[in-house]
């Protein structure tokens, strides 16, 4: 026991004395949260709109005012002819052009129908979908108000409701993703580097030629990063709740449990990687390539898994982050309890046990 404590203390010395790395490790989650939370947003705000109204009338004017008044849009220009539409897009003056039919108000009153064409810059298809949706909403709601003053017996009114994240705040989607990525990075990559560093520096030789059992080496290497991960976990949660205003709808305790489980999986992964490489650089590259990229692309953090082709969907089941992120979303955003995340917990437990078993088996008692 004394051996283990002494070893753990040594590991903490290493980490704390490497000021650069520890700064990165503690700041990384904060920076990521801030970036994803504020700077990188897929929300629609102040989208520039241009309108083409052949003849202004009270309806077109009111409609345009409403659109302009909304925080999502900014009507920047009124163009006179369809000729200028191309120019508007080419010069990036606006991302959306509304083209009103001739005699809009008159047609609406007499024929009961009038057309508005929405031409959107779909360079970013996701954004385009969003703002055309928004603008349609505004138009529909205006239509609703108008109906109150007109005779129209049949009305089918679609009612859209956004569950869990009614304001469609992007952060709700990103916080679980950031959690998943940071935790696996710290645990897997840093743990594997720490173990391989002993091999590289030659001190592993001395540790082996000693009465100390190799299991202590493993435990001692894992402990500091476990502690660091817990600190980062709390940092992210605190920032999310108080700065980004993403509430924890479900039980905090459940969240902690599933996070601990995920951390174990990540630590076991780090352990496995360390048995595969001899140099720190290789450990770092494998962790980076094999972990970061799949996590970012295939875990559901950014791109929805349901939209991926079947083979990739199946592959994403192998990525621990996928299960963790899904569990966090269920608990944090949807407010569900243990029973809802049983599947995720079982999968992660299975992964943890398997990885630990393989790593322990592969951990070499000798140098080769």
């Amino acid at each position: 026991m004394k051996q283990l404590l002494s070893f753990v203390r040594k590991e903490f010395y290493h980490i704390l004395r490497d000021k650069t790395t520890i700064l990165i490790l503690l700041l990384m989650p904060i920076i990521q949260i801030i970036l994803f939370g504020f700077a990188l947003t897929t929300e629609v705000k102040d989208t520039r709109v241009a309108v083409l109204i052949p003849q202004s009338d009270e309806i077109t004017t009111k409609l345009v005012e409403r659109i302009h008044a909304s925080s999502y849009f900014d009507v920047v220009n009124t163009i006179q002819s369809s000729y200028e539409i191309q120019k508007t897009f080419r010069d990036s003056q606006a991302k959306l052009v509304l083209v009103f039919e001739n005699d809009f108000a008159a047609k609406l009153k007499h024929d009961g129908i009038a057309h508005i064409q929405l031409i959107a810059d779909a360079t970013d298809p996701n954004a385009a979908t969003s703002f055309t949706f928004y603008v349609s909403n505004i138009i529909s709601s205006y239509q609703q108000d108008m109906i109150g003053t007109m005779k129209n017996p049949y009305q089918i009114t679609p009612e859209v409701k956004m569950l869990y994240n009614p304001q469609m705040i992007g952060a709700f989607n990103f916080v679980p993703g950031v959690l998943g990525m940071i935790l696996i990075l710290i645990c897997a990559m840093m743990t594997s580097i720490a173990i391989v560093r002993e091999k590289e520096k030659g001190t592993m030789e001395i540790l082996l030629v000693s009465p100390m059992r190799p299991i202590y080496t493993i435990l001692a290497k894992i402990t500091p990063y476990f502690v660091l991960s817990c600190i980062n976990f709390l940092t992210i949660i605190i920032l999310s709740v108080f700065v980004l205003k993403v509430p924890i709808a479900g039980s905090f305790f459940t969240l902690v449990i599933i996070s601990m489980l995920y951390i174990f999986v990540a630590l076991a992964l780090g352990l496995l990687i360390s048995t595969l490489t001899e140099s720190q650089v290789a450990a770092m590259l494998i962790s980076g390539m094999a972990l970061m990229i799949p996590v970012m692309l295939l875990s559901g953090m950014i791109f929805p898994i349901e939209n991926m082709p079947l083979p990739l969907q199946i592959f994403s089941n192998v990525i621990p982050a996928r299960w963790y992120i899904s569990a966090v979303k269920l608990v944090m955003i949807q407010g569900l309890g243990f029973s809802a995340i049983i599947k995720e917990m079982l999968v992660l437990s299975f992964m943890a046990i398997t990885l630990i078993a393989i790593s322990l088996k592969k951990f070499k008692v000798r140098l080769e």
Partner: protein
């Protein structure tokens, strides 16, 4: 104390050890002398149970290196090349850490390392990475001794270290021997061979000779002369052109000439050199050094 029988080891195509057998008695300082790549580190790694031999067997302190490796790891001290220390821990922290790794404390065996450690004690709060070669050496030795091992394995502890520190180091080893510790030490420096009780000359994975330094010197067949003149560079060429010599090599301030045919006389050589135009000629018959012996024995295997 240490026994090897016919050890073989290859790494893929490279043969590191080709049938090494020897014994080390308790309380001996046993030197393994040979250049880089001769197989010294491989041998040490097998004996300290870090790697497995392809063939052959070995025991340390009565324990088999393969089956009873755990026992061996409790009672040996090991100092690998490169003085494996934790660069970002202080001298003190390194020592304390290794003490706990060996289930002991710094105080328990302090007497053993006192002489060595006192030299670096003023720097005990300094990070190991900031010590010079000589200091690192002393710290690494202290860490290897902290649990009072029965056998000490030192793999090239003096490589890259200046002559003064080297001399001091060997002084420390002699004191350790007096405490009853068996020491196996490898080195490429031939002059250190004479400081060992017995030595083994190793080249290309084979032991060329195992004996006391004095016996090896006695076994040197040829006569050996040390030759000097005003122009050493020219001297070497002239000596080599004269075919009556076995070998001629530069040895610091003189050239060593090895003569198989004992009938050759110093006077003859002197005359020859005078004819070549040398002045200030000095020729003395000398006892061979271990280096002379090594070069003689390894002649057949090198070229």
């Amino acid at each position: 104390m240490v026994k090897c029988i016919d050890l073989h080891k290859s790494y893929g195509q490279t043969i590191a050890l080709q049938g090494v057998s020897f014994e080390v008695n308790a309380g001996e300082i046993f030197g393994i002398i040979g250049p880089d790549g001769a197989g010294k580190t491989t041998l040490f790694r097998i004996l300290t149970t870090l790697i497995l031999a392809n063939q052959g067997s070995a025991t340390v302190n009565g324990f088999d290196v393969v089956k009873e490796y755990r026992e061996i790891r409790k009672c040996v001290g090991y100092m690998p090349g490169r003085f494996s220390l934790y660069q970002d821990l202080t001298v003190e922290e390194n020592l304390e850490f290794f003490a706990t790794v060996f289930n002991t404390t710094v105080e328990e065996n302090y007497e053993l390392i006192k002489d060595i450690y006192q030299q670096i004690e003023p720097f005990k709060k300094r990070r190991a990475g900031k010590l010079s070669g000589g200091m690192k050496q002393k710290l690494a030795l202290s860490c290897a001794l902290i649990h009072k091992p029965t056998v000490l394995f030192l793999d090239e502890p003096t490589t890259g270290v200046d002559p003064v520190s080297r001399k001091e180091f060997w002084g420390m080893l002699k004191k350790l021997k007096a405490q009853g510790i068996t020491i196996l030490v490898s080195t490429p420096y031939m002059d250190e061979a004479s400081l060992c009780d017995r030595i083994a000359l190793i080249q290309k994975g084979k032991f060329l000779s195992i004996d006391t330094p004095q016996n090896i010197v006695n076994q040197y067949k040829n006569q050996l002369w040390a030759v000097r003149s005003m122009n050493m560079s020219k001297l070497l060429n002239d000596l080599r052109s004269n075919k009556s010599f076995e070998n001629c090599f530069a040895f610091g301030d003189s050239h060593h000439v090895s003569i198989e045919n004992k009938k050759l006389e110093i006077k003859t050589l002197e005359e020859y050199l005078l004819k070549c135009g040398h002045t200030d000629i000095e020729i003395t018959e000398i006892q061979p050094t271990i280096e002379d012996c090594f070069m003689e024995i390894s002649k057949d295997t090198t070229l």
